[in-house]
Amino acid sequence: MSKPRHLVNILTGTKGAAEMKDAGPLVKTIKKAARPLLVIGPRALEIEIDGKPFIEYLVDIAKASDIPICATAHTKKKLLELGVTPDSTYDIIEIINHLKDPEWKGVKGEGCHDLVMFGGFRTDLGNQGLSTLKHFAPHLKTMTVCKYYYPNATFSLPNYRKDEEWKALLEGIIEELK
């Protein structure tokens, strides 16, 4: 089983994320989902990949497959500047609290989501939130698209030492989703 980049997130348990190195299977999972959701965190505002803010990659993923967005922390303002109106605004813990409930109406009022993608969070907070969903939301799958491995996700990218590899994967996802 992979280790997370930050050892505070090391898995003490039995159920770790499947490490996904290729865009194909990730895209297949996204396309298969009936009601996917993309949750965007504030680190997406700070991180740049080859001069382009991570949040813009996330927006591209959402646009490529018409995935609704939940803006957490203070990301809403930047999304609006990018011309994107998020479908909902919660903080990460609040949206996770909703996602636990299989009867929740979802951010579009169409029913609870079955695949939730996360990008742009502190890895420790993100991994704790994913733990909640791992243990208490068997009705959904989670996927992280950050640079590091999240043990508590269902599907996670590996730890990337180099941004080029991460960028290639994100661009692969965007391209294949279109």
């Binding site: 980049r5 609006l80 909640t132």
Partner: protein, 765 residues
């Protein structure tokens, strides 16, 4: 336990015959006496769990895999296991304060006797509101405080026993126990701080306490230096006494880290605050301290090892933290001092007066012959950083996720900017250095980027005065003072240390009442404006709109909950005595108070926050606090917000999620500020008060998120609630949302919405 003899025992302890107030329904409550209140609270604010691991490893049945629908071999499920761990954490935290209280009371009873009176000055007549409300006792002496702590300790036995394998098995019942023991944590904290105030003559009945020097740069290194670390002022006050007696107060520097620093500056304005807990390892590594005196709680467990590296010596002075050191309590002072000065020996001395004398004498002998390394400058730091191979090991282990490796490489190139930022975000654990295969002395490198400026901190002032409560009680309850925001606790901050000062200033500037304590009280003093003023210089010290009030150390947090109780008592005339449900209900529905623990790290912080929650005070936590595993959250759209209208005795669906959560983690300071403003909303707000509160909520939301709040319609009850400044756009927003006026309410209360012996009439005076 129920029973006639138990009842008589309680009546004796609380002196039931004293008729200062009628005795409420829960004198000296047992574990399940407030269970229905807890269950009602948790019906709205459901426990949210984020397990740290998949397993239970607590007994020999295990390890047990609790993932999915699995249960442990004992039958426990994952949610209950989380409640159990949280209960354990709260017991640990509470016991730390209870132990502190028990020790300091015994120490002061030895000095002054059990009958020493509790006099808190001419401005504090309602002393010990936590003890009054929980126990039903009006403590008058140190001996009474001891009884309160003994009662709490007995409750601790029961709650702790429930965590043994095969005892409690329900998550909500575990939470009720965590809430119970955390309520008693506040009792113990209050007992500890009131004992300290009367025993050490700390400031009381005064707002304008001394402004003291703060920062490692404030220490005069030409003098012998004693560093005191921890929370318990018994030894540090003896050090001050000894220095005064020997005429050495101006010849020896005494500086503190963590709460002992705050306590010592309440005792002597010549003492210095070195800084919060996050600066402990940094300062120890400078070698500036000749002698380090540790007491209890929040001390590095490797303090002696770290001190040895730089030629400092340690005196451990608490039986709670002996650290494997040889006890020298009964050995001749001069012999001990000689061994410390000549051999660098660390010792355990449990006699506080003796520890003080040894500390001073050892410091005087060690200081002149210090052979400590000079502080590292930028040239030396650059040289040392050359050893870095950019392997990234330091980054992997950093609990604050800092990008250390690239920053250290830049130091090697003479660029210190990134490393400076890392120092500002460093929580001070030292794991980076431990992990470095090249043995780069990362904590010494920090000496080159740390500011050696002198900052300021206001000495802690203890209880909020009754006169202040009389002045602000009505505006707080009516909402025209938009809220009381308490920034409390430790320095495990997620980002730069001065984020907390930024948040404090935002709310002080907006005329909230801002209260600070513990390491947060220090951190906000570490930021200066262009004119060199700290927040303590810029804002008044009164418990009033726009004031910044430092109540003191961790145990002084009880004065914050005490202030909320005193609003119910002094302003609303509700009796406190054994009247916990009524008072908590009042605070939940009518006192716009919100706690903020941005850098909480210890089990003590978990119990403090949980104690606030039982009292109806919501708490906003920084991202590290997700590791506490449990929050209390509502879901505003889905949950039932029905309360009783106390005057009409009718159930009313208010449709208003206020306060929205009881314990929530947020990720960024921007989100925190918006959340704090929202969590100050209360159902009892008058329309002018609600206008003011919504004005701040909208303004902050727009500032950080760029639009009107997308849940604003939940908080506008009638058109009269709409802030004038935003009237046009809010009206348009409400129209788009299909908003309709909400039911009117005269006196919101949860009493009457669940099974309780308390009648609805008890909420009205």
């Amino acid at each position: 336990m129920k029973g006639k003899k138990k009842k008589e025992e309680k009546e004796k302890i609380i002196k039931a015959e004293d008729e200062w107030e009628p005795i409420g329904h829960t004198p000296m409550p047992d574990v399940a006496d407030l269970r229905n209140w807890d269950r009602r609270l948790l019906q709205t604010y459901k426990p949210f769990y984020a397990p740290f691991c998949d397993l239970c490893c607590l007994c020999t049945y295990g390890k047990c895999d609790l993932t999915g629908t699995n249960r442990g071999a004992c039958g426990i499920d994952m949610a209950s296991q989380q409640g159990r761990i949280v209960t354990l954490a709260c017991c640990m935290g509470m016991s730390a304060h209870a132990g502190h209280a028990a020790h300091i009371i015994d120490y002061l009873v030895e000095k002054y006797g059990e009958d020493h009176p509790l006099t808190l000055g001419d401005q504090v007549e309602v002393e010990c509101p936590n003890i009054r409300t929980v126990l039903g006792m009006k403590p008058k002496t140190l001996g009474d405080l001891k009884k309160a702590v003994q009662y709490a300790a007995e409750q601790l036995l029961h709650v702790l026993s429930s965590t043994n394998t095969g005892q409690e098995g329900d998550a909500v019942d575990y939470e009720s126990k965590a809430l119970h023991i955390s309520m008693l944590d506040l009792v113990c904290m209050e007992a500890a701080d009131v004992a300290q105030i009367v025993g050490f003559k700390f400031p009381t009945s005064v707002a304008d306490t001394a402004i003291v020097d703060m920062g490692w740069g404030s220490v005069d290194r030409s003098k012998p230096v004693i560093l005191v670390v921890g929370h318990n002022p018994a030894t540090s006050s003896e050090i001050i006494d000894y220095l005064r007696k020997e005429g050495l107060e101006d010849k020896v520097e005494v500086g503190g880290i963590c709460c002992t620093a705050l306590e010592t500056t309440r005792y002597s304005d010549k003492a210095k605050i070195i800084g919060p807990l996050s600066r402990q390892l940094f300062f120890v590594r400078t070698g500036i301290a000749d002698v380090i005196v540790s007491d209890e709680q929040c001390i590095r467990t490797d303090l002696a090892e770290e001190a040895s590296k730089v030629g400092s010596v340690v005196i451990a002075s608490s039986d709670k933290a002996c650290r494997g050191l040889e006890e020298a309590s009964d050995r001749p002072t001069d012999e001990v001092v000689k061994e410390m000065a000549e051999q660098g020996k660390h010792v355990l001395i449990l006699d506080h007066a003796k520890a003080a004398e040894v500390a001073v004498k050892a410091a005087l002998q060690i200081a002149p012959k210090r052979k400590k390394e000079e502080l590292i400058d930028k040239a030396k730091a650059q040289e040392l950083a050359q050893a870095c191979k950019d392997c990234g090991s330091c980054e992997l282990v950093c609990p604050n996720l800092q990008p250390l490796s690239s920053a250290i490489k830049k130091v090697a190139e003479g660029d210190f900017e990134d490393f400076q930022k890392i120092f500002e975000s460093c929580i001070g654990c030292g794991k980076c250095e431990e992990a470095c295969p090249q043995a780069v002395p990362i904590f010494q490198l920090m000496q080159a980027v740390a500011s050696w400026d002198t900052w300021k901190c206001r000495a802690g002032r203890g209880p909020i005065m009754d006169t202040e409560i009389r002045k602000v009680g009505a505006p707080i309850v009516l909402g025209t003072i938009p809220g009381v925001v308490a920034f409390v606790g430790c320095s495990n901050f997620p980002n730069e240390i001065d984020e907390i000062a930024e948040m404090v200033e935002e709310f002080a500037r907006r005329k909230y009442i801002v209260v600070v304590s513990g390491c947060s009280a220090m951190a906000i003093g570490m930021r200066k404006d262009e004119e060199g003023r700290t927040l303590y210089d810029k804002y008044p010290s009164e418990f009033d709109a726009g004031g910044i009030v430092n109540v003191g150390s961790c145990v002084a947090n009880a004065h914050i909950t005490g202030a909320a109780m005193k609003i119910a008592n002094i302003f609303a005339k509700l009796p406190l005595r054994a009247n916990y449900e009524v008072i908590a209900d009042y605070i939940l529905n009518r006192v716009g108070a919100c706690g903020v623990a941005w850098g909480a790290y210890s089990q003590k912080a978990a119990s403090i926050a949980t104690g606030c929650n039982r009292l109806g005070i919501p708490v906003v936590l920084g991202p590290h606090s997700s590791k506490y595993r449990r929050l209390y959250l509502s879901r505003k759209e889905e949950d039932d917000w029905t309360v009783m209208d106390g005057r009409k005795k009718e159930l009313v669906d208010t449709e208003e999620p206020s306060p929205e959560h009881l314990a929530i983690v947020v990720e960024s300071k921007e989100r925190a500020m918006v959340t704090i403003a929202k969590l100050c909303l209360r159902k009892n707000d008058t329309p002018p008060g609600r206008q003011i509160k919504l004005n701040h909520y909208i303004d902050l939301y727009k500032k950080f998120f760029g639009t009107l709040p997308d849940d604003l319609h939940h908080y506008v009850r009638t058109e009269r609630d709409i802030p004038m400044f935003f009237k046009k756009e809010v009206r348009q927003y409400l129209q788009e949302k299909g908003w309709k006026p909400k039911p009117a309410l005269t006196l919101p209360t949860l009493i009457g919405t669940y099974e309780t012996e308390v009648p609805v009439e008890a909420t009205i005076r």
